[in-house]
């Protein structure tokens, strides 16, 4: 593999990892606060649709982003209502949200645009432009570092940089602020938070809302950054992969960056190298397709070991039995 190919694979990795990273950090906030969320997929999907739909109608990607976040927040509110207020089963609520998003997006899309659950293709200001970082062209001739800067680091949409920035921000919020301390505590021992005079419900709703916000960014990136419009089921299981990455990262922000990058890399490699020929034996495309999943299992079994989730995760906080 020559240097340029490597750069392109890594470039592709960044693009593929971004929605994963945003969703993974979304899940991180929620699960750190003790609310399991397998509805990441649904929230991303809803956000993808509404951001594309509103961007298509208004021609503004920013309005689209707001709409996407609003849609994702609405689903978060349902999840919060079910799992925090009414102490329902968080897994079921997540499953329901995935179904809801999968059905509603197409239903609404069909009702609004009549294009078979698709939005019209976005043009111009309806999409996130790629940002060229300063001096990208000037520096390009510099050997090694030049192309890395110009090709790999520069030239992504603002959401990519936002996602990357969210990693230290998440770390800082969780480990350096009062809110973060309380949020982590409520995922470990809600009764400790409660007896310390802090509202468990308020904290958990805040966490779920942040989760909605980040899923909104992820969806918006999918439909209006990576793509120029929405198609049905366009998240294609990324919510689940993000969940896998979250466990892989053991619920830590920097590890999440690593895990999502790894998954992005595996996908990028699988995309580029199909049917590898190994001295006469061709590896069938199906193997390459399944490779990210196989490797996930291998990595989990071989290197990660037991991942211990936040102790109060998945359990509603009940004072009176």
């Amino acid at each position: 593999m020559d240097f340029l190919t490597l750069l392109q694979v890594l470039d592709s990795t960044i693009r593929l990892a971004t929605p994963l990273l945003l969703a993974c950090l979304a899940g991180l906030f929620s699960e750190r606060a003790g609310i399991f969320d397998i509805g990441l997929e649904g929230k991303m999907l809803a956000a993808a649709f509404f951001s594309a739909a509103i961007a298509a109608v208004t021609g503004s990607v920013w309005l689209g982003l707001l709409a996407g976040i609003a849609a994702s927040l609405a689903l978060s509110a349902i999840h919060g209502l079910a799992s925090i207020t009414f102490r329902g089963n968080q897994l079921i609520s997540g499953v329901a949200i995935n179904f809801l998003a999968s059905g509603l997006t197409v239903l609404v899309a069909q009702d609004w645009f009549g294009q078979g659950g698709r939005t019209p293709s976005l043009i111009g200001a309806g999409r996130w432009p790629d940002i060229t970082l300063p001096f990208a062209e000037t520096l390009r001739p510099v050997p090694i570092l030049g192309p890395i800067y110009a090709e790999l680091i520069s030239g992504h949409s603002i959401l990519v940089y936002t996602a990357l920035l969210m990693v230290p921000v998440t770390w800082w919020v969780l480990f350096r602020t009062r809110f973060g301390l309380r949020l982590r505590a409520v995922g470990e021992a809600p009764e400790a938070v409660d007896t310390a005079g802090v509202s468990v419900i308020g904290l958990r709703f805040a966490a779920v809302a942040i989760c909605g916000l980040l899923c909104g960014l992820a969806g918006s990136y999918l439909a209006t950054g990576l793509q120029a419009g929405f198609v049905r089921e366009m998240t294609a299981g990324r919510g689940y992969i993000a969940l896998a990455a979250l466990i892989f990262a053991k619920w830590r922000p920097w590890h999440a960056l690593g895990a999502c990058t790894l998954f992005g890399l595996l996908q990028a490699v699988a995309l580029r190298y199909q049917n590898i020929d190994l001295g006469g034996i061709t590896i069938p495309v199906q193997v390459m397709d399944a490779l990210p999943y196989i490797l996930t299992v291998v990595i989990l079994a071989g290197f990660v070991g037991k991942a211990i989730p936040p102790r109060a995760g998945g359990e509603p906080y009940v004072k009176e039995r």
Binding site: G88, V95, G103, V106, A244, Q286, L300
Partner: protein, 362 residues
């Protein structure tokens, strides 16, 4: 002890939840400019008022019973098996191999062998995640999700490269020999002047599903193994105290779970398609999660929930057939049913409990 009578919890709560889901669904139908009452009438008419409708409803229900039971059994051991989809997919491979490569004199023998094949392949597909969970602590939720993707790739490879008859376009096997065709409800119940269940895919596998319900009930609540599975599910430290090996229970429970999921493919592959097609499971593995959770992991609850989802599937198909309502409406209705009966049930239960305790106090 309890805050309200058991019957209210078991019947009233789900009924009111369903009603709420129905009301919201009606709102959605109104919002897309259709008539909800007419839609509901069409669904009931198509799914429940004709024998053929029942034939479809029960066909779908059969799938959901198997995948629901699969999730439920694993759940009793506190294992969340999201891999029903993959296990059923691979189970289908077992059915196909049995039906295609062994000569069968009669369908009943073929059925027994196909069940063994399906269950064995499904169990095998669950074995690796189970082993990794037991021995390496790899999170079973992730590994089973990954195995769903891997199963799809595997089936694709096998169908495209190995089992597809030369020249056939469809990535599917050839049609199974006639001796393996299972009797459908039509074969069983239709008479010359009363063509019951005409063309419907419901077949003997439905009765297998009923047997599976009873078997799972006996297993969980009547056998030693079930007792140990429940003990392990409730408290691993208690299980260790009693000399129950966690590894053994995890592996055995997942094998049973995977086997049950695999059995679903007998219905779709041998009973309906009579050949192995690419996406025979069609998300039934995921519906199984909802079915199990709604059915409170009890075989009877799973049975009822499976019938409900079968009705939704078939009613939705009829709806799409005769109206302009997109098929996704059914997905939305399913979502609302899952949400209200499974996750928001306390929203209904809490006021009811207050009502009952006030009545008792009075």
């Amino acid at each position: 002890m309890d805050k309200m009578p058991a019957w209210a919890d078991a019947i009233l709560v789900p009924l009111i939840s369903l009603l709420l889901a129905a009301i919201l669904s009606a709102g959605v139908i109104l919002a897309i400019g259709e008539n909800p009452i007419e839609a509901f009438r069409l669904m009931v008419d198509g799914a429940l008022m004709r024998s053929t409708g029942w034939g479809y409803t029960l066909y779908y229900a059969t799938n959901f019973i198997f995948t629901g039971l699969a999730v439920a059994v694993a759940f009793h051991a506190r294992l969340f098996n999201i891999g029903g989809e993959g296990q059923a997919t691979v189970g289908g491979l077992g059915v196909a191999l049995v039906c295609l490569y062994l000569p069968w004199p009669h369908w009943s023998l073929a059925l027994v062998a196909a069940c063994i094949g399906a269950a064995a392949f499904g169990a095998l597909w669950a074995l690796i995640p189970a082993y990794l969970q037991a021995k390496r602590g790899s999170h079973i939720v992730i590994t089973t999700i990954m195995f769903n993707f891997i199963a799809a790739a595997l089936l694709n490879y096998v169908l495209v490269n190995l089992l597809r008859p030369a020249g056939q376009m469809d990535p599917a096997t050839e049609v199974f020999p006639p001796a393996t065709h299972l009797p459908t409800f039509q074969d069983m119940f239709a008479t010359a002047d009363n063509p019951l269940f005409r063309g419907a895919p419901a077949n003997v596998t439905f009765f297998l599903a009923l047997i599976a319900c009873v078997a799972v009930w006996v297993l969980i609540w009547r056998t030693r193994l079930g007792y140990e599975i429940r003990a392990q599910g409730h408290s691993e430290s208690a299980a260790r105290y009693a000399g129950i090996s966690p590894t053994r229970i995890i592996v055995v429970a997942m094998l049973i779970s995977g086997g049950l999921a695999g059995l679903m493919s007998v219905n779709t592959t041998m009973g309906e398609a009579e050949r192995l097609v690419l996406n025979a499971t069609e998300g039934a593995g995921f519906i199984g999660i909802a079915v199990a959770l709604m059915g409170r992991n009890h075989p009877f609850g799973v049975f009822l929930a499976a019938i409900l989802f079968g009705f939704l599937y078939q009613g939705g198909a009829e709806l799409a057939l005769w109206t302009n309502i997109p098929r996704e409406l059914i997905v939305v209705i399913q979502a609302l049913v899952i949400l209200f009966t499974g996750a928001l049930d306390n929203m209904v239960r809490m006021p009811l409990e207050r009502l009952f305790s006030r009545r008792r106090a009075a």
